[in-house]
């Protein structure tokens, strides 16, 4: 393998692929990136077997072939190079890398040891606008569980395709996030896929403008492959059945508050500082035309915040983990937010007041016992 490319292009391709490399791996080849030079391009690939990232860049190929380099050291080297031509020549066990007057030799591992791309029958394909998908993934993945003991299903994000809509859902059992994205072309069959939340995180980081094309690779491989620009992200799909999330979205709300998203966030951020660090509890009291937010702790003191709101329904006092509520409000895509309640120990709904945004975005949050 022998090629010449721009050092900066190579640096960004290797750095972004390396994000998936686990430096503590017990399988040495997984600490390396694979370079594959072919037909005017070099593809750079890294994998931890659950997630595979591949970027490609233009290059002048002198000799087609493959080579694997240690990801961390190679990306560290590249990051400190000027944007000059980079000459790379590799064999099974050595790679020489030259840029201006710098001349390095890296020890490599045979490319044949590098895990092959997951193969299988290509199944359903769908396309989605990159920006809309990024917004959806950003607004949802934070609600996925990071408790390993809860299992891979809740650590994943549900992609539900039906007709012309992609619904993205995540829940950790305490809160649930749902976001709808229109599909440019409808899907023929409804489909549910559970993708590891960190896989979507990589798509968000990588996707630029334009469209993302996603392909399900069935069989043993069981992957969802996202193509965006010059990048390809394959995520191993989670086996299992996603809980029926519709069941936890109440339909009998009879109390409603509409507030300025930023002002409410300000109140909660301040009160959250005082909130007892046990469950970060803030209490929301709905009465009259104001929303009163209180928090207290044995060690810090007491917080009292009052906010003018539009309100309907009976008075109610309900408690939440301020961190959960703040995280949700941080993602609300509208200047005002609507909070709906049924009772102090029943789930609450939080959504943008703007009708178009409300159609896309919904959060359900379980309260705290007071």
């Amino acid at each position: 393998m022998k090629f010449t490319c721009n050092a900066k292009d190579m640096a960004s391709a290797v750095t972004s692929a390396s994000r998936v490399v686990n430096t503590h791996t017990t399988v040495p080849i997984l600490a390396n990136v694979l370079l594959d030079a072919k037909a005017g391009r070099v593809r750079v690939r890294a994998t931890d077997l659950e997630l595979t990232l591949e970027n490609s860049l233009a290059a002048e190929i002198h000799e087609e072939g493959q080579c694997t380099l240690p990801a961390r050291q190679f990306s560290g080297y590249l990051a400190n190079l000027p944007p000059a031509p980079l000459h790379v020549q590799g064999t099974n066990n050595r790679a020489t890398v030259k840029c201006e007057r710098s001349n390095y030799e890296f020890f490599t591992l045979p490319p044949a040891e590098f895990p092959p791309l997951p193969e299988g029958q290509s199944g359903v394909q769908f396309r989605v606008e990159a920006k809309a998908f990024r917004d959806a993934a950003n607004a949802v993945t934070f609600a996925a569980s990071n408790e390993e003991a809860r299992g891979a299903v809740l650590m994943g994000t549900l992609l539900e395709l039906a007709g012309s809509t992609l619904t993205v859902v995540a829940t950790d059992g305490y809160r649930l996030a749902r976001y709808r994205v229109p599909l440019p072309e409808p899907v023929r069959e409804p489909l549910k896929l559970i993708v590891p939340a960190r896989g979507l995180g990589e798509v968000v980081r990588t996707a630029g403008e334009g469209q993302i094309e996603a392909t399900v690779i069935g069989g043993q491989a069981n992957q969802l492959v996202f193509h965006t620009g010059d990048a390809k992200i394959s995520a191993r799909l989670v086996d299992g059945t996603y809980p029926n999330y519709q069941q936890v979205i109440p339909t009998d709300f009879d109390k409603k508050v509409v507030a300025s998203t930023q002002k409410l966030l300000g109140c909660l951020r301040r009160a959250g500082i005082v909130a007892d660090n046990r469950a970060s509890m803030v209490k929301l009291a709905l009465d009259g035309a104001s929303l009163v937010i209180t928090a207290s702790s044995d060690t810090t003191g007491n917080a009292y915040e009052e906010l003018d709101v539009e309100r309907t329904g009976d008075p109610l006092t309900i408690a939440f983990n301020s961190k959960f509520l703040i995280e949700i409000l941080n993602h609300i895509e509208s200047e005002t937010v609507t909070l709906e309640f049924a009772a102090a120990l029943r789930p609450a709904a939080i959504r943008p007041t703007d009708p178009a945004a409300a159609e896309r975005q919904l959060y359900i949050l379980m309260p705290l016992r007071q």
Binding site: S145, N146, E147, E148, A149, R150, G151, V153, L154, T171, D172, G173, Y174, L176, P243, N244, Y245, Q247, V248, R278, A279, M281, A319, N321, L345, P347, I364, M366, P367, L368, R369, Q370
Partner: protein
Amino acid sequence: MQRHGDAASRVRRRSGVLATVILHADLDAFYASIAQRDDPRLRGQPVIVAGSSRRAVVLTASYEARKSGVHSAMPLFMARERCPQAIVVPPDFARYRAVHESVFAVFKAHARAVEGLSLDEAFLDLDDVTVPAAVLVGRRIKDEVRREAGITVSVGIATGKMVAKIASDDGKPDGLVAVAPGTEASYLAPKPVRRLWGIGPKTEARLRAQGIERIGDLASLPDERLVALFGAWGVELRNLALGIDPRPVVEEWETRSISTEETFEHDVTGKARLGDVLASQAREVAQRLRSQGLLAQTVGVKVKLANRSVRGRQTSFVEAVDDAPTIERAAWYCLERIVLDKPVRLLGVRATNLRAGDRRQTEFFDALGT
């Protein structure tokens, strides 16, 4: 953590007429007694309280069963061989908990401080009283426990914790033994060294090899031999052998972890067979967390293999937990990630990162059906 009686006042008391008197109270065959109390058909019969699994161990045996050589921690199948007529009943922790509370309320009414050792055992600090006065208190406690809870308690009274505990053991069942101040050493002298705190089978064997069998033998050793045998611990051990034991009754130890473990009579191969032991351990840990009003942020599993190597794995939660299903799920998660390449000798579940409080965050987990 609250300590009663600083060192200076303790020394003062020791040199005066009045000394702090410690009472050790131990419910007799607690679980079995409750079973016999609630079911007249079990009275006078050999009763064994044990789980239902094939590898279950004896939790408690009634005195009738103990006559046949059955003792707690013995594998159930062995207990059945020794006492085929025994009636095996399952444990009922909710009931034990209720009895524990009524019995400890009696203890608290008579003591300056109560240090619970388990559901059925406690040290009571009776403050500065004479031993005859303490004996009257002990009789009242026995009467009130019988009246309140319908079971018997054995009581030991002495100036130090260890002697009080040895005395209550000597009086079992339903006894009351008081050791007068100044007679501790002569009371202990004829007993085997094994009954001292800190002397296990290994130390006992070492002592026996030196011709030291009785506590009195140990008490009369010169300092240099003690230090040669045990290092710095030797002097402490001799003080214990003389009945000098200044450790105060501590109302509440700060609990850092709650754990339970079981050593199998026969090494167990395969994770599936460990399942019901793990489940019952998770239930016990949850029960003990709740009984102390604690929540655990982290749950771990410990395994000792046939070659005595110890392996473990732990996992943490976003919200601290105290419920058996969640702890069991987390324990399973950990067990599945421990490499068991040899038969298992010991299995344990441990809850750490404890904090006080009730579980406040509600969840829609059950509603989701996962």
